[in-house]
């Protein structure tokens, strides 16, 4: 086995066998699924208490418009005065009392209806009630004006614009959401990967310094080989952990609801349910079909290739910087001053990615940031699903890898000198000097 393989193997095994690594690998998905389940459970608990709402309808328009549901029961009060109804409702600890007064004209209802309750009612309850009243009042007022409401409904025309590119490719809002999700996921994944495993590389370099083994090692191998071996070995361990996480999450997500009987639909908030319903109006099957078509329409080959290139390039770029920091300092506490310049472009990339790409994937800002090598992996990955000209993609990759060669050269310089420097407080000025050694 040659040196590089030996080093990669050692770094990999050392990481993978590490107790805390193993624990984190298994614990993280459990914690995440646990938190999800807990939130879902608590949410369902929150909603499960059923509400009783009394209705005092003096107008007589809403005889049976309010239909009780699982969570809400409507009670119609007859022939009570408002005072009695209020007292009664408070006594029976009802959620609220809806008072609709008798009015001479329908449009007076607009600001005459009152909802009495112990505390201020939830937004959902109020909007539900208002929806019901509004719908009925509108129908009534139309009828009074001599217009048939049913006819209006029949004649209502629903507009759905078709989206198509100049090249004749169909697009849709669903497609945009899918693209955003894909780009966002890819960018976020890279971001997390860099932070978690970049740090791991840095710690591993510091460990070699503090345990003083570094000089023994580099009397056998070139520092650049050690640096590369470390980055590759740690990355492989990272990929292993990510794959494990994905599998475990998937398994847990399937198993946990089965065991605890949590319905996936119940995990959603009412707003989400509404959204789902709205989306499902055209039929669930239709939605899925559209999803598949859209997924098919994504430039998949392009995405996969570019994802790999940007992921590897971006990760290596940052990993080499982390390694250089590790070499420059004596302990982890000294790393603070050097972390900021690394984290800043990374965070910037994610925010630029989320805000500008979502707004306009081909705007000037998005374009510029998708060429700057320190932000391009994240921003470009977010842009690509929306279709980026090939020359831009290639140019960006070339810039990224050229910069990577530059940072590795820089990192190797710092590394070569830094790993043998003990006790010297590294400053930026000191680092510049090291470059000339």
């Amino acid at each position: 086995m040659n040196h590089l393989q030996l080093i990669i193997k050692r770094e990999y095994l050392n990481k993978v066998r590490n107790k805390s690594f193993v624990i984190m690998t298994f614990l993280t998905p459990v914690i995440m699924v646990g938190v999800f389940s807990l939130v879902a459970y608590l949410a369902s608990l929150n909603n499960s208490t059923s509400k009783e709402i009394a209705i005092l309808d003096e107008s007589g328009y809403f005889g049976d418009q309010f239909e009780s549901t699982d969570n809400t029961t409507y009670v119609y009060l007859d022939n009570e005065t408002l005072e009695v109804a209020k007292e009664q409702s408070e006594e029976k600890e009802r959620y609220g009392l809806l008072y609709i007064p008798k009015v001479a004209k329908l449009d007076l209802l607009a600001d005459q209806i009152t909802f009495y309750s112990e505390d201020s009612p939830s937004l959902n309850v109020m909007s539900d009630i208002e929806d019901v009243i509004e719908e009925e009042v509108n129908v009534l007022s139309l009828r009074q004006a001599g217009i048939d409401a049913a006819m209006i409904q029949d004649m209502h025309i629903n507009i759905k614009a078709h989206q198509e590119t100049y090249q004749g490719q169909e697009t849709s809002e669903m497609g945009s959401i899918l693209k955003l999700a894909f780009g966002g996921l890819a960018g976020y994944l890279l971001f997390m990967f860099i932070i978690i495993y970049g740090n791991m590389i840095m710690r591993s370099v510091i460990e070699e310094k503090t345990s003083r083994i570094i000089e023994v090692i580099i009397s056998s191998v070139k520092p650049i080989k050690l640096l590369l071996g470390k980055i590759i070995g740690t990355s492989l361990a990272g990929v292993t952990q990510f794959v494990m996480w994905t599998i475990l999450m998937f398994v847990l997500m399937t198993v946990v609801p089965l065991i605890f009987g949590i319905d996936a639909a119940e995990m959603q908030t009412p707003q989400q349910q509404e959204l789902m319903q709205a989306a499902g109006e055209g039929g669930i099957e239709n939605g899925i079909a559209q999803f598949l078509i859209e997924a098919n329409n994504l430039p998949l080959m392009n995405l996969v290739i570019m994802f790999l290139l940007f992921f590897i390039g971006g990760y290596l770029l940052y990993a080499s910087l982390y390694a250089a920091i590790g070499a420059a300092v004596d302990s982890e506490t000294d790393t603070q001053q050097f972390m900021m310049p690394i984290l800043l472009p990374l965070i910037l990339a994610v925010y630029v990615g989320i805000f500008t790409v979502m707004d306009n994937p081909h705007g000037t800002v998005s374009q510029i940031f998708s060429f700057i090598p320190f932000t391009s992996p994240v921003v470009m990955l977010m842009r690509i699903p929306f279709g980026v000209p090939v020359w831009q993609q290639i140019l960006s990759v070339v810039i990224l890898f050229a910069t990577f060669i530059g940072t590795v050269w820089f990192a190797a310089k710092i590394y070569r000198v830094g790993i043998l420097m003990y006790g010297k407080k590294a400053s930026y000025k000191e680092l510049l000097k090291w470059l000339k050694y």
Binding site: H3, N14, I213, E215, V216, S219
Partner: protein, 309 residues
């Protein structure tokens, strides 16, 4: 004598700081070569250059007549002063890894490790983690890893630090045995008594320059200056002492004796012999002690460095 390692006119700068200035050393085959000098003189830099850890700005290094190349790493065993092992790795695994980095195959490495672990009676540490071992124990493993691949050239930087006297002796014997088996040894230390005991050649580096080198005996001869420690029970102590002070360069001496006698360190003129001094002393009283002062490495070290500064 054939030279195993030749370093010619080595210079190395770190920014403004000159770590080595035109330093040359020649290490004969089969010798124990002491590389001496005060802290910060440039010894470690020179050793790192020989190990190709640092590149010299100027100058060349030859191993066995060939200019130093990356593959020569396999012919060198280096025990640096700043040394350690991976704390959370097991002893055996770690030794195997380091041996393989030096170019041994796994089976070779295993066989050799078994030999050395048995020899130093540390076989049962194989599955322990380094963090469970004491410093001395870890040092032993480091020694084994350094010599495991049978290098032609062994470089030890302060090999005895961290060892108790018994283990230090054990390691010293192992080093000498390696020399007898044909290895050449470069040895850097501040423990002058070890230099005295083990080295046959030395080089002295001060302030980035080599200021002295050669065979230890030759150097001692050069520093020997007709000086003798004498003990004398004089018939008339006051008179004897004033006579001696007039005639020779005399200093008080500090050797141990049981009698209450005069003790002097006397330097005689270069053309005079020890017999002349003996003859003269015997006329003054009874001689109880007569010993030629051979300069110790310690004396040579201090004297040369002070003169150089």
């Amino acid at each position: 004598m054939e030279k195993l390692l030749v370093a010619q006119n080595i210079s190395k700068n770190f920014g403004e700081f000159r770590a080595l200035d035109d330093a040359s050393i020649e290490v004969p085959k089969g010798s124990v070569f002491g590389l001496l000098g005060p802290n910060g003189a440039g010894k470690t830099t020179l050793l790192r250059i020989i190990n190709q850890i640092t590149m010299p700005d100027q100058g060349k290094v030859f191993l066995d007549g060939e200019p130093l190349q990356p593959h020569h790493i396999q012919n060198i065993g280096y025990l640096p002063e700043e040394r350690g092992l991976y704390k959370s790795m097991k002893v055996g695994e770690q030794a195997l890894y380091l041996a393989q980095l030096k170019g041994l195959s796994k089976t070779e490495a295993k066989a050799k490790l078994k030999y050395w672990f048995d020899r130093l009676e540390i076989g049962d540490w194989w599955d322990k983690k380094i963090q469970e071992l004491s410093k001395g124990m870890a040092q032993k493993i480091q020694f084994v890893v350094t010599v495991l691949h049978d290098p032609k050239l062994l470089i030890f930087d302060e090999p005895f630090s961290g060892f108790d006297p018994i283990n230090a002796n054990l390691i010293k014997d192992e080093i000498l045995k390696l020399r007898d088996d044909g290895a050449t040894i470069i040895f850097s230390t501040h423990r002058m008594e070890s230099v005295e005991e083990m080295c046959d050649h030395i080089a002295l580096i001060n302030k980035s320059k080599k200021i002295l080198d050669g065979k230890l005996l030759d150097i001692k001869r050069a520093y020997q200056n007709n000086t003798f420690d004498v003990g004398l029970i004089a018939t008339n102590p006051t008179e004897a002492s004033s006579l001696l002070t007039d005639k020779f360069n005399v200093q008080p001496a500090t050797f141990k004796s049981i009698n209450d006698d005069l003790k002097y360190r006397i330097q005689v003129a270069p053309d005079a012999s020890s017999n002349d001094l003996l003859h003269y002393l015997s006329s003054l009283g009874q001689i109880t002690h007569f010993n030629e002062v051979i300069p110790s490495v310690n004396d040579i070290f201090i004297e040369t460095i002070n003169k150089n500064n």
